[in-house]
Amino acid sequence: MKIWLLALAALPLAAQQAAPAAQETPAAPLTMPETTITGSVDLGYRFNSVGGSLDTFRSVVDMGSGVRLLGLDLTIESATQKWFDRINVRGSGWGGDPYTTAHVDATRHDWYHFSFDYRDIAYFNFLPSFADPTIGNGVFLDQQSFDSHRRMMDFELQLLPGHWIVPYLGYSRDSGFGTGITDFVNGINSYPVEDKPRDSTNNYRGGVRLELKKFHVTLEQGGTTFKDDQQVFTSNQNFGNNPGPFLGEQLDVTSLTQAYGVRGDSIYSKALLTANPTPWLDLFGEFLYSRPDTNVNYSQYNVGQFVDLTPLLLYTSELDLLTGVAKQPHTTANLGFEIRPVRRLRVIESWMTDRLHNASSAALTQQLLTPAMTTLLNSFTDLLVMNYNREQVDVLFDLTSRITLRGGYRYEWGDGLTNGALLSGLPTETGQLKRQVGLAGVSYRPLQRLSLSVDFEGSGGDRGYFRTSLQDYQKARVQARYQVRQSLVLGANFSVLSNQNPNPAVNYSFLSRDSSASVTWTPNNSKRITLTGEYTRATLRSDLNYIVPQDFTSGTSSYRDNVNEASTLVNLLIPGFGANGPKLSVGGSLLRSSGSRPTDFYQPTMRFSTPPYKHMTWYGEWRYYGFAEPFYQYEGFRSQLVTIGVHFTR
């Protein structure tokens, strides 16, 4: 139904009178322009065939069959400019595609700017290789799977009463819903059960921007509300992932209801400032404050045969009620300046602090039905504190008009505090951050069409929050771009990150390298043929020590990823039919990776289009997806998607 409604939206485009032919003499200056609608509409029918794992296909591609509004892009320009100057309408994927988008914006000069954005993205994920504890028995069930949607929309209205004051109002909403499988964990067993996630976040905001000659201030006040009504349930007997008896009892769940009633709200404030009090000094600063709170009412009722290990207790039903609250004031401030004491020299200094403190408490009542009724009361408190600070200074010097040198220094420090892990015996755990980073860079433009930039940062390393945090690291990036001629552009990038943590308890070694090259060829102003292509090779090597839990021997977590990826697209205008003749596009991408999870993923595509009329093009598109993983062959798939459609333009 939606697709036809949207097709109706395209009717004005089709009904639009053909634009009058260009007149030989210029139009008289006082001629009132007509309201015009320009743009394109792309309608099609897609056929798909899938071989191999349909679940993996849906997890990766998820394109289905049927009629689709594949693209809508209209611009309406008003003749009278009474209510608007211009309205842009865009949309894609309507009719059942997993990525549905819509966008409308309208502007009237010196009056307002309005925008609306909508997205509905389907998230399907069912990969047995991800979470199937019973895979050794040949069971292919992803116990952390979902078939859900995330739907986002955003409205914003900016009023433009003058050149320097811009009040604005905004509203956005993000919601998720669907179904899935999750695990109900109880004692020594876990049971795959049905999951029905449902959450939403609303954001309301209003503010004003003052844009003056010497400074700008933005003040915004906003608030959010959040709710999470996830439900987990089952009414079928389930023996779980440990189907064997425990103390002679067969553990199972026969009925379960978990209801999460989570409500949250937040107020937040934002103040932004830029100023240039003199021509050689720019100031900037921002103050951001939010205070999200969460209130939790959770209930759980489960029936079956269960065991509680602390204390050892067998019981047949359980009723849990939990109430809790969490508060998290969060303050961020940033201040800096750029000073230009002489023409070629710039000094940029900035300070930043980010402070977050989550304090929470909860009370849990458990009623367990043993031969008698046992009631357990527990109360919890938890905390998470983060204090992060950063100071950075950069000095940029234009050695010549073609070379800019940059040097700098960044100091990051902070601490994190959490409650200690349950069995560690520690009341709290503290992580500390202390990082002194040297910065350097060169930008070189020997020719107007050739640019080269080198960016480097490195730190001797001191302390990081986590074992995998940046410690003793060097990071570099080289980018080159050469426009050989107007129609030919070459690019090359190289980046490397090396990170080491030699602490004997960690012994972390990480190295990643990305190298890529690209070419864009558009001869004769793209009239006949265009070619774009790129090739990337990315390698990643990571080794980190850990203690194997079951026998406390030392192990190494090693990860390798060596990727070769290439993509290209060639557009060719078929000779002999003029500038508006049939076109052929051939391309796609190819990815082969080896290492810890070898994967081949091919996405070739071909499209042929021919315009029977000036404003209409028929097209057919073929797209192939081939996915293979040698370690998980049961997840491979091959799919062909064929789309036939019509593309209207005005």
């Binding site: 199937d132 952390q144 964990v185 240039n276 002489v342 900035s350 980010d354 980018q479 790129e534 996405q603």
Partner: protein, 336 residues
């Protein structure tokens, strides 16, 4: 005071190619604190600056008006009418009325007389910082530029016109369509774009998202120019609001290191865009069972401790049981 009358006093001859300052700009004066700084660095300047030959004709150029530009640059002039900057042609406030071309290219009277390229300011041939000053003479005091000065783009001399094409349509000046935005970014960030060809990724190639949904190309208070939402929350939470919390039991890395502690946001061959091929290694790399030495190394999370038998498939994916791995409102062990 007319803007063109200010130019000779505001900008010394070596600044002749700099953009005209807005009306009211204070002129350069001896005794000003800036002059002291200039003097202190003069020897360095003299060492590296090429010899400056004073122009034969020191008389500064004046404004010629856009119509004079149109006489020779008809095609550019026509294309420029589709550019939102065409509105500058009516900008009385900044003194650019009928001088839209010269608002960026500087006074053009000499160029009109000589038609020599050397007599007009061409931002494409200027040092990036100097070219950007031209844009910023109007666009500096706007909210998008709060993070600009410290952004990676600014530090790496990526000029405004690298992304914003002048003399063209509104869409080419500021790409709004997702595919156009992504193409713009991918032009330089080739390797990042290649990551989106991996099977598990955010849906950018499909047109459902664009790079600027997550990144603010003008800079941000967060690393990697990540956008902020609700004041100071990372932009990831704009779509994944269910992961925001605060939770009764937070999982520290989500707050301290962000989503990238466990996820590769551009794309991965690993399900759920994880940074490791198996979930257990994502967890074990922090929860490494190294109690004493981990405390000595000032890191969090070293001590779960756990006694799980990782040889059993049941324990090879920690999230089978620790289902609320992003934070739980019920269980400290993130079990429900």
């Amino acid at each position: 005071m007319r803007a063109d009358n200010l130019i000779p006093r505001a900008w010394p001859p070596r600044f002749a190619s700099a953009p005209p300052p807005p009306p009211g700009t204070r002129p350069f004066r001896a005794g000003h604190p800036r002059a002291l700084v200039v003097a202190a660095t003069m020897y360095l300047w003299a060492a590296v600056a090429p010899a400056q030959t004073p122009p034969a004709d020191n008389k500064p150029a004046t404004y010629a008006g856009s119509e004079a530009c149109q006489m020779c640059h008809e095609d550019i002039y026509k294309a420029f009418q589709r550019d939102p900057h065409a509105a500058v042609e009516k900008d009385k406030r900044r003194g650019f009325e009928t001088r839209a071309c010269e608002s960026c290219h500087g006074p053009g009277s000499k160029h009109v007389e000589s038609t020599a390229a050397a007599d007009i300011r061409n931002p494409a041939k200027l040092p990036v910082a100097e070219a950007d000053r031209g844009c910023l003479s109007c666009h500096l005091n706007q909210p998008t530029h709060v993070g600009r000065i410290q952004s990676a783009h600014a530090r790496n001399q990526v000029s405004c016109v690298t992304c914003h094409a002048m003399h063209k349509s509104a869409e080419e000046l500021v790409p709004r369509r997702r595919a156009a935005i992504n193409a713009e970014c991918a032009g330089c960030h080739t390797a990042e774009w290649a990551s989106f060809q991996r099977p598990y990724k955010h849906k950018l190639p499909e047109g459902a998202m664009s790079c600027v949904d997550c990144h603010n190309p003008h800079g941000s208070v967060l690393a990697h120019s990540i956008r902020t939402v609700s004041a100071n929350e990372p932009g990831c939470l704009n779509c994944h609001g269910d992961k925001r919390g605060p939770f009764i039991f937070d999982h520290a890395p989500v707050r301290l290191e962000g989503c990238t502690a466990c996820h590769e946001p551009h794309g991965s061959a690993n399900p759920r865009m994880l940074i490791r091929a198996e979930v257990r290694f994502v967890c074990l790399e922090c929860h490494a069972n190294t109690p004493v030495t981990a405390a000595a190394s000032h890191t969090l999370g070293g001590v779960p401790p756990s006694f799980h038998d990782l040889l059993s498939p049941q324990f090879q994916n920690c999230t089978v049981c620790h289902v609320k791995v992003h934070g739980s409102n019920v269980s400290r062990e993130l079990l429900r």
